[in-house]
């Protein structure tokens, strides 16, 4: 569907392109270095060297496994909302808030006017793209999720906060595209939190983000209550939805049967919350189920979500199975080419 756009952007991808959602596990020595940096025992430069080395390793893993669209692996990020909050004007970080069980986190607080003060992700994108000929995705956390995952002490409503964030993040998207990123992913895991807000302002926020930027946009949603936002979510002005599917027993396929999907679709075929690696037949079957409701040229293949909670070994196994399954399905569709 969006193949025209990819071609125009100069991206040559096979049918059923394979990619990942964003994060990879951090090795123990990086976790230790981050802890030391927080405790002011090592300097930023020292941490940076380790992050760069780890990023290099993940890029070669992705190339070796044969993924088509790469990511930087987010070695430099802690929480996906806090990373952006720390780098935008207007934010403070709260005290400890409970997330579940015995888990606590510090939540961003919108304490003043949100403003973009300079590139947040360009540096790492450029570094990573410099390591490979394969396209590397630019990645930002979306305005709706930033709003929903932050306290708001400044704006009179959720809508105002979300649209202000969209304006700020639009600047980030512009500089990413200018630096050369042709595929930009906007992570919006929270977008189904209040389904009524999708037509009220979430679509408008995405219009602000993408306006006038010539790139192929992917929107990643996980843990979503899709039944409440589909087909309304097709109004989001993006090219590709990246949805968690294997973890929800492929309920989505049934939804898509009722209302055809009008964009490209990155279909999650391996469960990132399970230690067990799916066997190749299971993954192939998931791809075949997706093809019941999507045309091959609409379909991208990836895991459900970021892989940062898996081990390095599990991550590599899952990606291998995924790439092998995609290759087999490609073959069954088109013989030996392309």
């Amino acid at each position: 569907m969006m193949q025209e756009k990819l071609k125009r952007l100069g991206l040559k991808l096979p049918i059923l392109p394979t990619t990942t959602v964003g994060s990879f596990p951090k090795p123990p020595h990086l976790i230790e270095a981050r802890r030391k940096f927080d405790a002011k025992q090592i300097r930023a430069g020292e941490l940076r060297l380790i992050e760069e080395q780890t990023t290099r390793e993940w890029v070669s893993v992705q190339e070796e496994i044969g993924l088509d669209v790469l990511v930087d692996g987010e070695m430099y990020r802690g929480d996906m909302a806090t990373h952006f909050a720390n780098n935008l004007d207007g934010f403070k970080i709260s005290g400890l808030v409970r997330s579940y069980g015995n888990r606590y986190y510090r939540k961003p607080i919108i304490a003043g006017e949100v403003r973009w003060r300079g590139p947040i992700t360009v540096d790492w994108w450029r570094f990573t793209q410099g390591l490979t000929k394969k396209p590397v995705k630019g990645m930002i956390t979306g305005p709706y999720t930033m709003m929903d995952w932050s306290f708001n002490e400044h704006y009179p409503s959720r809508r105002d906060a979300c649209l202000a964030l969209a304006e700020a993040l639009h600047e980030e998207v512009k500089v990413l595209a200018k630096a050369g990123a042709k595929i930009i992913q906007v992570d919006e895991p929270a977008i189904s939190a209040r389904p009524e807000e999708l037509p009220e302002f979430a679509v408008e926020a995405m219009e602000i983000i993408t306006k006038g930027v010539d790139a192929y946009f992917i929107c990643h949603i996980c843990y979503g209550a899709f039944e409440f936002i589909y087909p309304g979510m097709l109004k989001l002005p993006i090219d590709n939805f990246d949805l968690e599917t294997s973890n929800s027993e492929l309920d989505l396929v049934e939804l898509l049967r009722r209302h055809p999907f009008t964009k490209d679709f990155s279909f999650g075929v391996v469960d990132v919350h399970s230690h067990i690696t799916e066997d190749i037949t299971t993954v192939e079957q998931r791809i075949q189920r997706a093809l019941e409701v999507l045309k091959p040229e609409q379909l991208w293949i990836d895991p459900d979500c970021g892989l940062k909670t898996r081990t390095r070994g599990e991550t590599m196994e899952k990606l291998r199975v995924m790439v092998d399954a995609a290759k087999k399905v490609r073959k069954s569709l088109f013989g030996n080419s392309p």
Binding site: V97, S99, N102, N152
Partner: protein
């Protein structure tokens, strides 16, 4: 008319200071097998006592035990029931908090009273009346996976059985005001008849105690009139979802006591006195009962840092004093 300040549920169990990490550290040690269940219980007792003391210090008229021992409002009940297994994490309504989802596989049987001892302990350590908080049968059923095979209504019936026993145990333990939390009804008004029957059955168990039915995490404007007709003594409403709710109450005859959730329990911004007083000026003249409660829109424990939770309560108490001058 009397204006009382109340807690609406949970209170943060850890804070920012090193000595306020006790619960978190003990919990981790329990999971590692480094301390016994009894030792962990002692920490939970201490933290409960601290939370109660902070609520009293903030100036509240009615406090809770802070729900320090709860994993979440759903599995705290479900994990003590036969006929039920606990599944993975799921987002709790539209919040940033997650609960464990129950899977109901058979008739539900309570192994032992769930809240009774928690209530008795909090009563002992509190200088103010303690209000036990019970998750309601409708919300418990709505957030569970039904593998019973029957209709949703019979699943609600299973939970009515359990929660009725809880209410009656709490009454016999001396609770005078019992809060039933039913956030799920706000977004599922089509189920109101099932919900109504469930609440009626609970109300039959209340004996000499008074029941407060609290709704939150949604816009109550369309359900408000029907909620006010239910056979309970207090209706709790969340005012953070729709600015219209105050007008709806101002325009309807209301003889029930209300729990006015005018303090946003999920945002760190402290309410300005004027914005709360304006709503009170609008709604209080139309309330025919002798008492209202001013409270946060929901429990604070899973949504705010402890320092902010305390300030929110203090601020609420200060506003209530101004409000008393109004009437």
């Amino acid at each position: 008319m009397e204006i009382l300040t109340a807690s609406a549920g949970s209170y943060p169990r850890i804070g920012g200071r090193p000595e306020q990490q006790r619960h978190r550290q003990a919990h981790a040690k329990l999971e590692q097998g480094e301390i016994s269940k009894e030792e962990f219980e002692r920490v939970q007792d201490e933290v409960t006592r601290e939370g109660v003391e902070e609520q009293v210090k903030a100036g509240l008229d009615v406090v809770t035990d802070g729900q320090v021992r709860w994993h979440d409002p759903i599995s705290h009940f479900a994990r003590r029931l036969e006929g039920c297994e606990i599944n993975g994490l799921l987002r709790f309504f539209d919040t940033n908090f997650y609960f464990r989802q129950p899977v109901i596989k058979g008739k539900l049987v309570r192994r032992e009273p769930i809240l009774k001892q928690e209530f008795i302990f909090a009563e002992e350590v509190s200088s103010k009346p303690v209000k036990p908080v019970v998750t309601g049968p409708y919300t418990l059923a709505k957030l569970s996976i039904n593998r019973l095979g029957g209709r949703f209504q019979s699943l609600v019936g299973e939970f009515v059985k359990i929660i009725s026993q809880e209410v009656s145990d709490l009454v016999s333990a001396g609770a005078e005001l019992i809060q039933i939390d039913e956030p799920a009804i706000l977004k599922n008004s089509g189920d109101f008849q099932i919900f109504k029957e469930a609440i009626e059955k609970l109300a039959a168990e209340k004996g000499s105690a008074r029941l407060a039915l609290y709704t939150y995490f949604g816009d109550a404007t369309s359900l408000c009139k029907r909620l006010l007709k239910l056979p309970v003594d207090v209706i709790g409403l969340d005012f953070t979802y729709s600015p219209k709710l105050a007008n709806v109450i101002a325009n309807s005859k209301c003889d029930k006591e209300l729990g006015l959730g005018l303090i946003d329990g999920r945002n760190t911004r402290l309410e300005r006195e004027q914005e709360v007083l304006e709503v009170l000026k609008l709604v209080l003249p139309n309330i025919g009962s002798e008492r209202v409660y001013l409270n946060p829109s929901c429990g604070l424990g899973d949504y705010l840092p402890r320092e902010i939770a305390f300030k929110k309560l203090q601020n609420m108490v200060a506003i209530s004093e101004k409000a008393r001058e109004l009437i």
